[in-house]
Symmetry: C2
Subunit: 411 residues, 2 copies
């Protein structure tokens, strides 16, 4: 008998009808004799409803109190799912973060999991009950409620699977797996049967909104195989696992994009040690994540231009902070641009193939697209382009890297 | 500087606008230098919204899970009020039951407070912050969430005032005090400036829905003076306190009624020891509260008739259980009646006045109303009558006991 962690997203528990459907799926797994822990998100729409209440009160709600409020979404879902399971004769028990407990740091609204005590969940298994665990939430050392940021329930599930040494972690969502690119903008996208943690990590952080990045980091760190599957069909699914021989050996596994970023460029900042720290420390202090950072060689050996991207949400605050830093550093000018998009190709195959980046640039240039920023890692190449060319670029690359599904599959 | 506990009901925090209003009131008190603990209920409508979700799933939701779900209503309110206070520059911190902690027994959906630890709240006072405490909820020894039953936030507030040895406990609600009877059915009802715990206890348990019964028991036990006041005006208010010379010395302080009861009569049950236990133990096991119980003398010395009342909600289940008990006892018949109303006169003055009950019966007979059951205690007389005569009876008694406000006040 196995230990199985299942996670259901907000759409999957979006109505009483759907909660019943989830309960039936969970019960089936339980009846096969497995120990089952289920992680659920808030019913779709609830988190936004709560955030809107807070925003009606104030544009900048207190983060600690925001987490107290927003975490109620998951609290309602776990209770409803536990009720639904009992209705089906499946013994079940809801557990909130403080009951597990799931310890996090105290970065309210985007906390990180520090430790999960498995005792309470093992006790639930011991009693042959299903453990229904609230996703997205944690508690600090001081017993304050925190939340893990959007998509945090994925991380809850994988972290739980890790501490329970689960045999499987199944993430049920409204898509049936991980695709070579977003089917909405690329009709010939293909579902991948298997993908490595590293590729998924690049895909997730780059905008393939199937799994939260941190959940994949956890999965990789603790070697938890994750199955991404649709709640609504039994077909399909993608396994995210350690890289192995079985894995499809294409050079590029997928293409991802991110439209929710903005670019900030500092012109002519002094080229001396400590400058980057002076620029980025204020952003870090405000918990603003910086994505791409590019600094080119200084022509005169004294000053350099520096560009970076942040999410559009953080853009206004980042500009504010950067203005202060730029003044101190005597930067020549600051240029902001919010109409950009980031586009990336990802694949472990790049490790053993030369010329992948060149092939990408060539494909973009063939359709007349100018590249504004370039950044590369071992298994991905990212470029920033004008947002309006995004769809065109994705399709061009999908074809250039032989990812297109056979025409007959492209319904 | 005093320690003050304030409690705001669901209507008082029913919208963001009203939460702002409450925050202003609390801030005012805080700025006077007091240590303030505020207990809030769920925004009006929220508890029902949640209960309906559960009922959509199943007619008999699991009580433990129901409490996990329903307690989120207060969790949202405390967070919003703490945010609103901070917006006004008043330092504040929300506390849920598990954070205080407020310990209860494990009678889910109608738990009783066993102990409140005052350390966490005193720490909040020490930091010169307002403690915003979630009403209605508690946790068991095993850290499960419980709720205290409808109106439980009053009990939370008074219990908190007791452990904090608060100078005042102020209950803000949508009425401006305790009246001699329900102004909706008796236009000449008068607001009482002061009322004793015992009278209030009889008033509350008999249906004057201003304060939850248990909150008054707590107040009496720990001698906490409670001020009941309207959130929306500065006028009026009723003090519930220990009986003293100041108290108005009328024979009857008020008239209350209860329409949400049903009567069950068992005909010809054996008149031997243990019979009552056999009848009522099954009800107690299902947590069904029995209100009035009346057994008349058996004519033949062998069997007696027994009547009792339960809430209409419990009626169907009670009938079910009683049928089983009646069969075992060979009772002749069972008669149920849901169209009854209970009417009571309450007053500490009864202790020193004879003939109060007789005066009540005479007043009812004068308007042609038949009395079905009678029950008396030291400071109250209750009768059960046909529901359709209720308004008529209340007005007749209000006049008979000189409670009518002068005509000019009866706007």
């Amino acid at each position: 008998m196995a230990i199985i962690v299942q996670k259901y997203g907000g759409t999957s528990v979006g109505s009483i009808e759907r909660i019943r459907h989830v309960a039936a799926r969970v019960s089936e797994c339980y009846r096969q004799g497995h120990d089952v822990a289920v992680v659920v998100s808030a019913m779709s729409g609830q988190t936004d409803r709560l955030l809107n209440l807070a925003r009606e009160l104030t544009p900048s709600p207190d983060p600690r109190e925001l987490d107290v409020m927003v975490s109620t979404g998951e609290q309602v879902s776990v209770a409803l799912l536990a009720m639904a399971l009992k209705e089906l004769g499946t013994p079940a028990r809801s557990l909130l973060a403080y009951q597990v407990p799931i310890r996090t740091d105290d970065a309210f609204t985007k906390a990180r999991i520090l430790a999960i005590d498995d005792k309470s969940i093992r006790a639930v298994f011991q009693a042959r009950e299903v453990a229904v665990v609230a996703g997205f939430q944690g508690i600090t050392e001081g017993n304050d409620i925190t939340t893990l940021g959007r998509g945090g329930s994925d991380t809850s599930a994988v972290a739980l699977a890790a501490v329970l040494k689960a045999d499987r972690c199944e993430i049920y969502t409204d898509v049936d797996g991980v695709y070579t690119c977003d089917p909405n903008i690329c009709a010939r996208a293909r579902r991948l049967a298997k993908i490595s943690y590293d590729e998924m990590l690049e895909m997730a952080s780059l905008g393939a909104k199937v799994l939260q990045t941190r959940s994949v980091e956890f999965a990789k760190k603790y070697d938890v195989p994750v199955l991404v599957k649709s709640t609504f069909t039994d077909e399909g699914g993608t396994v995210v696992a350690r890289e192995d021989e079985d894995m499809e050996r294409e050079i590029v596994s997928g293409i991802t994009y991110e439209k929710n970023e903005a670019k900030i460029t500092l012109l002519a900042v002094p080229d001396r040690p400590g400058v980057a720290a002076e620029i980025f420390t204020p952003l870090a202090l405000k918990n603003i994540n910086v994505d791409m950072i590019i600094q080119n060689v200084s022509v005169d050996g004294k000053s350099a231009d520096l560009s970076f991207t942040v999410t559009k949400n953080d853009y206004a605050q980042a500009m504010e902070l950067i203005k202060a830093a730029a003044a101190k550093l005597n930067a020549k000018d600051i240029i902001g641009d919010t109409s950009i998009a980031k586009l990336s190709i990802v694949g472990v195959g790049m490790r053993s193939h030369a010329g992948v980046a060149a092939r990408m640039f060539k494909a973009l240039s063939a359709v007349g697209i100018n590249i504004m920023m370039i950044s590369t890692s071992e298994i991905k190449v990212s470029v920033v382009i004008e947002e309006k060319y995004l769809e065109l670029a994705v399709r061009a690359l999908h074809t250039a890297f032989d990812l297109d599904a056979p025409a007959r599959q492209a319904e």
